[in-house]
Symmetry: C2
Subunit: 340 residues, 2 copies
DNA sequence: ACTTATCCGTTAAGCGCTTAATTACCCTAC
DNA sequence: GTAGGGTAATTAAGCGCTTAACGGATAAGT
């Protein structure tokens, strides 16, 4: 197996003294060749270090053996959250061993994302795609349906016939709220991500519902954009306004840590005077002092489940909606009883 | 452009009343067709929403129009550092607009990484690869040379004829050391990543050299594995041992933040009793209190430069060794004069 | 009026693989 | 002895595109 020359099935055929058709049948474990011949062919194949050309295979069977993921987040934010790397890590776990590869694209606007899907589809480069961060009336949904491009949504069900892998965020929101109320908190503010995301809306709705049920008239939702700057601004405003909350719940880790800085700056001690809860748990949450209580979601599991589902759908399986294991609240040192 | 039916050049040929060869020439802007015909063909092509099939093109011209990146880090660590997402973001920036896609693989052992490269090569799935985190006598170097697989190293030059994109870490190490010495520090310890990495060795060598020049007999290097646990362990040992250092320099952000926790736990105030410097700057460094002084490297720039170089090499350009802009020390609140 | 060059376009082979159709052969059954 | 039924192989078409080789037409040179 020296550089440059990659063996093809016709090399194998020549070496084995059979036709390329026979080689193809043998290597794909299909009937049409005798057992001894199959063995001989396979031996030769891996003595030669043969690997099928993906282009040739795609061209002839129409399969790309690849799936696509495009992440649409501005460069400024992308590196900040560990979310995507964990997701990718889960995706790879499910892909490992199989013939399928992952095509990744990072864009900074939604038009580019749509263009990417369209191009991949046109080039027949992917057999299906993963969709993350869905927004209300997401154009991607329409696009994949129009193109008949197999797709799996990472997030709650939006359209009945679109397969998805979702995590019960409502449950987690409720759990967090009940936990804070049990500690004695009554004035709780949720610092959410951008309204446009479906998951933001889901959590906000759950928050409002639970707050009503728990009879918390001061509970409310404010929005930021996941960045530490915006979070700091919003937090400062909320904490210095009238009837300041005693607990804040954030939609990611960066915003929560940022709030920790603001609290410090305002002379509010955490958790004695102010409790904080972060959403996705992370090293950041663990390492910061005080360590942040956080909701941990099975992110890698989501990625893996989504891949499995997508591969099934590509193979013609019906569009299921899969639920992952539930998120859990990891209490640390940023939550305590509110000041008396 | 309705789902399912993707136009091919022969559809275009039929619609334009010419041969597929003419269509190919027209669409690829090569001589052989008249200007009016070319226009007509191109019009029809994009009215039909034609996109070239990557498989067909690869098969016929031997190009995959894709490059590969495999990241070999255990799942536990991968999400922690923003490094890779920033890198990927830079890579995408350089790829955007072009016909080339990025194939990503995350593995958790070096054998799997080698296998990935070999498979991609065999499948003709990539035209070239990016190599990160080189180790001493890295088997990947030999592999890509044996396979004649175009490759660009992200890191310092190791083999003369292997193209690379590197950042002057020595400069940064020296700068950090001089900065600390200027503040009055004499006992400085570098908490490095795993010895096996070339970049670890480069920095350690630079550290030792600079320390000798600055006459710091107590300067030394200890190793951890980038994780917060290991860093905490090592830091604790170093700080409680004899002749404890007054300043620590870390090889990533997570370890530095972890040390912040240890210092806190030992009752050492940062920066008054202990100064800390992190390597790659990040949100973590910025958000933590006290905010960490850190060395900021042009990571996205590295990624982009590496892609451009790789594409050139694929096109037959000679193997250059490109230097990025220099890293810079961002002083924040974790460094100050040592205690008197 | 003849060759020569130029331009525009077609033809067909080939990239590496899959697979339906076909052939060759050996067995068994009547 | 021959029709019928497997099984084990070959053949060849086709996937969508590129490209060397070729050909017909028009323009220019002598």
């Amino acid at each position: 197996m020296v550089g440059g020359k990659r063996p093809t099935i016709s090399d194998i055929a020549k070496a084995a003294g059979v036709s390329t058709g026979a080689v193809s049948y043998a290597l794909n474990n299909r009937p049409g060749v005798s057992e001894p011949t199959r063995r001989r062919i396979m031996d030769i194949a891996d003595r030669l270090g043969w690997v099928p050309s993906s282009a040739a295979r795609s061209l002839s069977d129409g399969r790309a053996n690849a799936i696509g993921l495009v992440v649409d987040r501005p460069a400024r934010v992308i590196g900040v959250e560990p979310y995507f790397m964990q997701l990718i890590s889960g995706i790879q776990g499910a892909l490992a061993g199989g013939p399928t590869s992952l095509l990744l694209q990072v864009t900074d606007n939604s038009a580019a994302e749509l263009a990417a899907y369209r191009r991949w589809w046109g080039e027949r480069r992917v057999d299906g795609v993963l969709l993350v961060d869905l927004v209300q009336n997401d154009p991607r949904v329409e696009l994949v349906q129009e193109l008949r491009l197999p797709a799996v949504v990472l997030g709650e069900p939006v359209v009945p016939d679109l397969p998805c892998v979702w995590t019960d965020d409502e449950l987690a929101v409720t759990e967090v709220l009940e936990y804070l109320v049990a500690l004695g908190h009554r004035r709780i503010v949720r610092v959410a991500g951008p309204t446009k995301f479906v998951h933001t809306q889901t959590r906000s709705r759950a928050f409002t519902t639970a707050a009503a049920r728990l009879n918390l008239p001061d509970a409310r939702v404010v929005h930021a954009d996941y960045s530490d700057e915006a979070a700091a601004r919003v937090t400062r405003r909320v904490l210095t306004g009238g009837t300041a909350p005693t607990a804040l719940v954030f939609d990611n880790d960066v915003m929560a840590v940022s709030a920790l800085g603001v609290a410090h700056e305002l002379g509010l001690s955490v958790p004695d005077q102010l409790s904080l809860v972060a959403w996705d748990d992370s090293a950041l949450c663990r390492l910061v002092r005080p360590a942040l209580s956080a909701v941990r979601r099975p992110i890698a599991e989501r990625g893996a489940a989504a891949v499995r589902l997508l591969l099934d759908v590509i193979n013609g399986a019906p569009p299921e909606q899969v639920k992952t294991s539930d998120p859990e609240l990891v209490p640390r040192s940023s939550t305590a009883h509110p000041p008396a």
